[in-house]
Amino acid sequence: MSLDSKSPAGPIAQKWDKHRFDMKLVNPANKRKYSVIVVGSGLAGGAAAASLAELGYNVSCFCFQDSPRRAHSIAAQGGINAAKNYQNDGDSVYRLFYDTIKGGDFRAREANVYRLAQVSAEIIDQCVAQGVPFAREYGGTLSNRSFGGAQVSRTFYARGQTGQQLLLGAYSALSRQIGLGKVKMYNRSEMLDLVVIDGQAKGIIVRDLVTGKITRHSADAVVLGTGGYSNVYYLSTNAQMCNVTAAWRAARKGAYFANPCFTQIHPTCIPVHGDHQSKLTLMSESLRNDGRVWVPKKKEDCGKKPSEIAEADRDYYLERKYPSFGNLAPRDISSRSAKEVCDEGRGVGPGGRGVYLDFADSIKRLGLKAIQDRYGNLFQMYEKITGENAYEQPMRIYPALHYTMGGLWVDYNLMSNLPGLFVIGEANFSDHGANRLGASALMQGLADGYFVLPYTIGNYLAQQKEKAPSTDHPEFVKAEQEVHDRLNKLMSIKGKRSPNSFHHELGHLMWENVGMARNEKGLKEALAKIPQIREEFWKNLNVLGDKEDLNNALERAGRVADFLEFAELLTLDALERKESCGGHFREEYQMPDGEAKRDDENFAYVAAWEFKGVGQAPVLHKEPLNYEEVHMSTRSYK
């Protein structure tokens, strides 16, 4: 079956305007008669909940943290893109649109991306009006920096804490509406199922994480802003509690999951130091401007101190393999190259999973002071974590998972194939194609939450004749019972292993077989092993403590159970996509020089998967990607 994106017809620059005019409106006085559930309080969810409440809708917002201010959007460092052209350097809506489409390796939907670029400028205006303290020039105007994949300076930033400041802006807007009684906020509350009535999303089942109480919530529409699924790999730069549960529960209820194999790996993270590690820390990619990447030429030298390895015995492999780009080779290429040298046994540091990023030459050339000025905070962070002084010895870095482009399938209105279910931010698949550009995640989350969903949801609500169903409806009763049954089952296995041990095992398999470079053999092996781990999980899991109490282990168990189902879909999607594009690299499909070999003839589509049961083959639905505006070209960084 072919999926309809519902992208409006007409010239690309007029699609959104025309669509806004064509959409049905809810009369201002009638908005209070509609209720909307928003799950997640990050940039997308928080912005949406606040904006919908301002419009007059009755909003309930749910987050599993102890406060909406703690959503993982807070950890984004670099910045947010917007086509303001404040630097007079030739930026435009069209250029931002083009850069994002190209950066996504021609696997994103044109109409969505153009709209994203169009509303980007408004986001900055909105944030400034809220009191977000962006960096400024001495003249009082806003400051910009440049970022990867762009030749203009369009990135706005607030020191290294842009995500934090934007989230606190959305949180303050949300808090205002909570204080006014327009949003009912549920902290420490986790969505455990979606309720679908007559094919439409009409509510959710929620567990209060403090009391364990299960409650039903009904609404005219449900919005998921629940983030990405990087933690299926166990180790990632995501926060500990990030998970796929809300999205996966929706997928189990019929929402299609699109392009799950599009995952992004960041080349400059602090390497794993041991089996006990719980998370990876990202360091700004800008370090590669002045650092040289190398490993020893000989395996025997890996145990030596870097200072004891002679210049002639060092392999500056990026400079060797990509002489024109050198240490600034694109993210995916430098990530894969690091894996290759480590696979050859030439990796450094604990476990042999690391490469050196050496600043000695730059310090010699520019002086210590210049390097301190540029990267002082990063060197300090590195020292806090590793105990090593990177001014005196090279840093060790290794790639890590940090963003997922795939997500629940949505149409141009950000509505899933299940009417009434809207998906925003990282949780949907729509705007980044096979690869996301830096500083674009914050832009998309806020665009969806502030400026897209508040319009498109009205179009859906205006066409609803029936009001939100009673929570006594049989589908609510059934969904709640299923949640109880599942929790009881998790509690009653009483096996020997902790939820964490299963997560660890799954993550290791995913990283090794479905990580940076994928091949048919490894993917098939993973597809055989995942069900085994899942079977073992349901036989040998042990959840201690009570169900009617704060129970971190029970929360974790439920999330790991969902990862164990979702991982299979991700792997299958990677196997079926027999091409390399963006963050998805299949070893069988590469150019002689190691570049990704995209196959537009056979794979220029969105793969949207329909769940058919655990262990059952999902059904693939395709949304063809028609490029009317941009010519699909080979993404070259030579």
Binding site: A47, S51, D66, S67, P68, R69, R70, H72, A75, Y86, E122, D125, Q126, V128, A129, Q130, G131, V132, P133, F134, A135, R136, Y138, G140, T141, L142, A158, R159, G163, Q164, Q165, Y171, S172, A173, S175, R176, I178, M185, N187, V210, A239, Q240, H273, G274, H276, Q277, S278, P350, G351, K384, I385, T386, G387, S498, N500, L544, D549, L550, N552, A553
Partner: protein
């Protein structure tokens, strides 16, 4: 890989409390095989895995991003909120700064306004209610002027950013002998009061936020500066001075927290 070559042993005394209704106590655990490269929370993960293996319920503690920005982690370590390392959260603290064989005492934040939920987890929703009372600019989505329409000097923008760096963890309250929340309140109020966008409702903001802070059971500030000493983001107490000035000014002007719809007025 193995961490046995330079592994450390600790005597962990940690607060165990079943729930808000049941009294808690410090329980001691001996923990060996800890790598100096582990973060403090990874050390606690280890403790929990071992408790798990023994069939003992793991210790509940709040954490999420583990990179010092979400503000979720909240442990009092050897009497100091966020432990002995300066200007970092406990999630960014690594075991190498402790001595092998050391006793480490771990407790939740202690404040009437932050009741214990379980073990080391406390309820900090009072902070949310303070923000809901006035920690915002009253502007709806859409229709805002161009971001560059109103120049803001770099000095003011930087100062506002210093204040805005607060992660809302509550260490300031936990460190204060009076459980005052003034560093938290002053950071948010100062950020918004400094910027032209927030000036219009400055008086109302400080009155509402301070009023809510008092109602939530936080104590008064007696200028011991312990809050600044433990703040993982280094927020200075000068913002408290700023808030005191803003508050006094708002009181002097007779601005009521809820403006009365009377003509003329005082």
């Amino acid at each position: 890989m193995s961490t046995t070559s330079n592994s450390m042993t600790f005597n962990i005394r940690i607060w165990r409390q079943k729930n808000a209704q049941t009294p808690g106590k410090l329980v001691e655990y001996k923990l060996d095989g800890i790598s100096p490269d582990m973060s403090f929370l990874e050390m606690l993960d280890q403790l929990n895995e071992r408790l798990y293996a023994k069939g003992e319920e793991p210790v509940a503690f709040d954490h999420d991003c583990r990179e010092g920005i979400c503000g979720m982690c909240s442990l009092n370590v050897n009497g100091i909120p966020h432990g002995p390392d300066s200007q970092v959260t406990i999630c960014q603290t690594h075991m190498r700064i402790f001595k092998d064989g050391q006793t480490i005492t771990i407790e939740p934040w202690r404040s009437t306004a932050f009741p214990v939920i379980k073990d080391c987890v406390v309820n900090r929703s009072a902070f949310d209610r303070i923000i809901q009372a006035g920690g915002f600019v009253s502007v709806n989505t859409g229709g805002t002027p161009d971001a560059n329409a109103l120049p803001i000097s770099k000095e003011i923008a930087d100062l506002a950013m210093d204040a805005a760096a607060c992660i809302g963890c509550g260490a300031c309250v936990a460190a204060c002998k009076n459980s005052s929340a003034l560093l938290f309140v002053s950071a948010k109020a100062s950020q918004l009061n400094l910027l032209p966008q927030g000036k219009a409702e400055k008086d109302r903001r400080v009155l509402k936020m301070v009023e809510t802070m008092d109602a939530e059971g936080f104590g008064a500030c007696t200028n011991t500066n312990s809050c600044e000493a433990v703040c993982p983001k280094g927020i200075p107490v000068t913002f408290i001075a700023q808030l005191n000035r803003d508050y006094a000014w708002a009181m002097l002007k007779g601005a009521a927290a809820e403006p009365k719809a009377t003509v003329g007025g005082a």
